[in-house]
Point group: C2
Chain length 619, copies 2
């Protein structure tokens, strides 16, 4: 690696201030500036510096992590900051095109400052905006400049109260009416309300809404997305027939207004359908370039990989911040020592190092991996938008999907555990809100469940591997993939024949030894899984049963009745599941959003006046 | 187990309401009422019911978990609730004496409702009050009725900004002045400020303060405790020379006002010394019944075991609540299924069971263990207060200390991981604040680090085991203990000779198989540890070095410089450790507590006016 030239280093990486860390820094075996330059490159260091300087110099970004703000004010402030970030144009389009990593750098820099801001920006510009650009057609291009200027503000509404992981089962409907050339958007009941939608709670004027598309005669064509205006951009009052509000306080990310929406026979123009994967003619005939409905469903949701890859990078930032705080604290906090008079920094204790250093290593490993993943995904997306319909492109898509599905759980869980370890390693000081470890934990937490629950996602990766091995076993196709991540599996019979043979403890520290052990383990688990699935299928199980074949006893719920305190104490709507589950949840939400006071038209809602009154009486 | 009589069951354990859980309950292989009666006993069920009913019927306890309250209001409400609980006399003294478990039941019931309330009550009555009763003498008895009536309100001040785990190194001083028969209490600097003290922030009028006791001539007699008035009970204004305030928002437990205090040459009467372990005559001579200073230090801190045993029970409550919420949710949340039309409860998925059921089992195991531990500890404490000075009593003390030191980490970490798993198992709904899993995680979190950091405590348990084994190796003493928890180690040579020999997977499910494996592991680790420690000592290491002998490279801090964002972003005082660590922490605290505006006398503080001005300028 080349040493940084004097001038660059001085401006991009100024010397660190003196202080108690000085002694540790002086003992380092490497030059931190050289390493930073090697890992990031001068361009990215320069971009980071310009973003951080822009935030630091603007009073709107003066530190307030929202502890002293009401929920309402916290959300307002985040919205204003988001608008300012868009206005400042921190990243030029030509830089984005030249180096896709600059997009990731912008997002992670904003998130390093505050994830509510980064996500609000991301949801509006890259999720909502990109969905319109990618799933719409020419007729939707007029919206793009309005999105960039925040003349309209957007959200992306897939999840409903009762359906998240199983997106296919979403129950919002869009019936086409050829008489007026409109779709009638409708939420059949509470459980079909859009829920969790980021930016929807207070600020979004428009939503990309996923609904089951019906053509005249009652034929359902599956999930499609529609661009729907939900609020008046001047007054932020809901549009007629739209009940929209905030779902209330979350464990973190409270600068973002997650919201709910129900549609009461809301009429939207035919052109609101984002028609890239399927369209309806003015007369009401459904047309699609896809022959297979499953393929169309996949294409309509394939934006999700990008979100997941970004979560890998987000998790790295969170762990990076936590490890920085905990290690610096450990180097200055002194406790106990060889004599009563002399105390040593807690970093000198073997347990403290054993707890923290693996996470420091994980930051470096995952940081590099997340950039590699993002660049490959960006290349793949460019191929998708271009004309690349090659077999390699299709295989690359499958490989990247499997990689993203495995690495989002790995990164988010590593960060979650690491932040908790960092918080505990700082003792009481780690429990003080001002020291940010709580915010980091709370803001990393949803990374484990949104954009695909970690446990559900992992099954996508194992499905990919099982599929490859089955092809290999059936027809002798080579086990290989465009990025080469599965190529080692081609040697799996030999790998399984290997036996552990490291002569000494010192020898085990060679990276080849754990790598070989890991390869063996992957092959072993893969073989066992293939055998189990095949055995299930031979004994007549369906695919669904095969996945869920070993039933445990059903005493769990009854056992809970023994330990559970009375409902008065249990407090959580989801814990009081006696018939009132979603209604209670809903009541809590209504209470939070004060929607009943505002939405007088709601008394006309199918749930009937009686029900409204009974809800009100419980508020 | 006897079936409950009809009348009892009906009044104590009414039938559960119908609803979607009905189907699961009907499939249980046991009667939940019988099991509850067997596990708790009728007396405790009755007590629980009376406590919960008292809370449920009183509007002061109407549900508000403080999300909508300011920090100030949340703390005020918790104080009022604490006063009400004391006023209601939920537990009669004769019941406490008859069954010590009733004390634990009261605390855990209050905590099941809200840990801020339970801890505020516990800190005042059982920590502050018991310290005066136990560490003081007849001259302090006058305070007890005032404590019971909350005429005075108390806190227990050991920890300082820079010293927690190493309590011996505390730096607050108490110099005796025979001229006026007073102690002069003094905090030499910021790092010696009392910190983290529960109830001290806003509400305590009195504190038990630990300080180094000096007699004339400058001789230090080590740590002693003093009863110090810190606020006027009518106005709550600080007493002269006392700078006291709130340390600000924490990750949880925000109903409790954790505080700091600095003493500026505060004069307190000689009789304020809690003189059970040592006293000073009016002329200034130090007298103590203990010959050994180390023994005296141990006796002055031996209240800590009770706090730790209660933390085991607190952790069980937290896990119990989380598991109740997550399992009931899992039984009603449906997602995916064998066909598109039919979705199954997520509890039917093997992964969901695999994630949650071990924690359900852990609740039952730890619940039973925590009661057993508490009863033994109560018996031991009764012996301490009586005349029992037998060898068995001394051995019991060591065994219980080792058990508490090992089980507090086990219970608090199991709960912490379990709650996180429950939160993730509820998906997005688990991330909504109203569903309480976030509160449970945040309120359980400090159980891992306060009242003895888990990692530090575990070394107490291993120290106990190593000591026993060394005795056995040196003199052939039998390995045994009053409660019998280490007796199995007597057979350790035979155990180490055992080899795993379970013929089938089914055989491994016999509980004797994992138990044998576990016993082998304990013996193996114990032998390895003894050998390592002995080897260190033979090669000349001191005890301190032997514990911390394998140094890693010192690149950690320099590596952090590469990944860390600028200080503007890093935000945490403990993460910006460049020379300003504690000053920054302090500034943050001053900002939170607004103490500078109030305490004009502070300008006279040794830190000098200039420093005050520079602090003010940074606020």
């Amino acid at each position: 690696m080349a040493a940084p030239s004097e001038g660059d280093a001085a401006s991009l990486l100024p010397d660190l201030p003196g202080g108690p860390l000085q002694a540790y820094r002086a003992r380092a075996s490497f030059c931190w500036k050289e390493l930073a330059l090697f890992l990031e490159g001068e361009d990215m260091l320069r971009l980071k510096k310009s973003i951080f300087s822009a935030l630091e110099d603007d009073p709107l970004f003066a530190r307030s992590r929202g502890h002293e703000l009401s929920l309402e004010k916290h959300r307002e402030l985040t919205f204003l900051r988001c608008k300012r970030v868009l206005g400042r144009a921190l990243l030029r389009v030509e830089d984005m095109v030249r180096n896709p990593l600059s997009v990731l750098t912008l997002i992670t820099c904003l998130g390093t400052y505050d994830w509510s801001l980064a996500q609000k920006f991301l949801l509006h510009l890259l999720v909502f905006g990109f969905a319109i650009y990618k799933s719409g057609s020419e007729r939707h291009l007029e919206y793009l400049p309005k999105i960039l200027s925040m003349e309209i503000f957007g959200c992306f509404a897939v999840t409903e109260v009762s359906h998240g992981s199983n997106a296919k089962a979403i129950r919002t409907t869009a019936h086409y009416d050829p008489a007026t050339e409109e779709f009638i958007l409708h939420s059949p009941d509470f459980e079909a309300a859009k829920f969790w939608v980021g930016n929807m709670g207070k600020t979004a004027t428009h939503a990309v809404v996923f609904a089951q598309l019906y053509t005249p005669g009652g034929r359902c064509h599956g999930l499609h997305s529609f661009l729907v205006q939900i609020r008046n951009p001047k007054t932020l009052l809901p549009m007629p027939g739209v009940m929209v509000g905030d779902i209330g306080k979350k464990l973190g990310l409270n600068g973002i207004d997650n919201g709910f929406a129900m549609f009461h026979k809301v009429r939207i123009p035919r052109r609101a359908l984002l028609n890239q994967t399927g369209d309806v003619t003015p007369e009401g005939t459904y047309v699609t370039p896809f022959k297979d409905a499953k393929q169309r469903f996949g294409a309509s949701l394939n934006n999700l990989s990008m979100g997941r890859a970004i979560i890998v990078a987000m998790s790295v930032v969170n762990l990076k911040l936590a490890v920085s705080i905990a290690l610096r604290f450990s180097a200055t906090r002194r406790q106990f020592g060889p004599t009563d008079e002399e105390e040593v920094p807690v970093l000198e204790y073997q347990t403290q190092r054993w707890r923290l250093l693996p996470y420091l290593a994980a930051v470096y490993a995952l940081d590099h991996f997340s950039k590699w993943l993002f660049l490959n995904l960006a290349e793949f997306q460019q191929g998708l938008m271009g004309t690349d319909r090659s077999t390699r492109q299709a295989e690359l898509g499958r490989e990247i999907h499997a990689l993203v599905s495995g690495s989002k759980p790995l990164a988010s869980w590593t960060a979650q555990r690491g932040i908790q370890e960092c918080r505990e390693a700082c003792g009481g000081h780690g429990y003080l809100a001002v020291n940010r470890l709580g915010d980091l934990r709370n803001e990393n937490d949803p990374n484990c469940t949104y954009e695909g629950d970690n446990n559900v996602l992992l099954q996508q990766t194992s499905g990919y591997l099982l599929g490859l091995l089955e092809l290999r076993l059936q027809g002798g196709a080579r086990l290989e993939s465009p990025l080469g991540t599965v190529d080692f599996l081609e040697a799996y019979p030999d790998i399984l024949d290997q036996r552990f043979s490291c002569p000494s403890v010192a020898g085990c520290l060679e990276s080849s030894v754990p790598l070989a052990a890991y390869e063996w383990l992957v092959c072993y688990l893969l073989r066992e899984s293939v055998q189990k699935v095949n055995q299930e299928k031979r004994s007549g199980s369906s695919d669904f049963e095969a996945r869920n074949n070993s039933q445990l006893k059903d005493d769990a719920v009854a056992l809970v009745d023994v330990i559970a305190p009375p409902d008065f104490i249990l407090d959580s709507p989801i814990g009081r599941a006696d018939g009132e589950l979603y209604k209670n949840l809903w009541t809590a939400v209504l209470q939070e959003s004060k929607v009943l006071e505002r939405a007088s038209w709601w008394a006309e809602f199918p749930a009937s006046k009686t029900h409204v009154e009974s809800l009100k009486s419980r508020l």
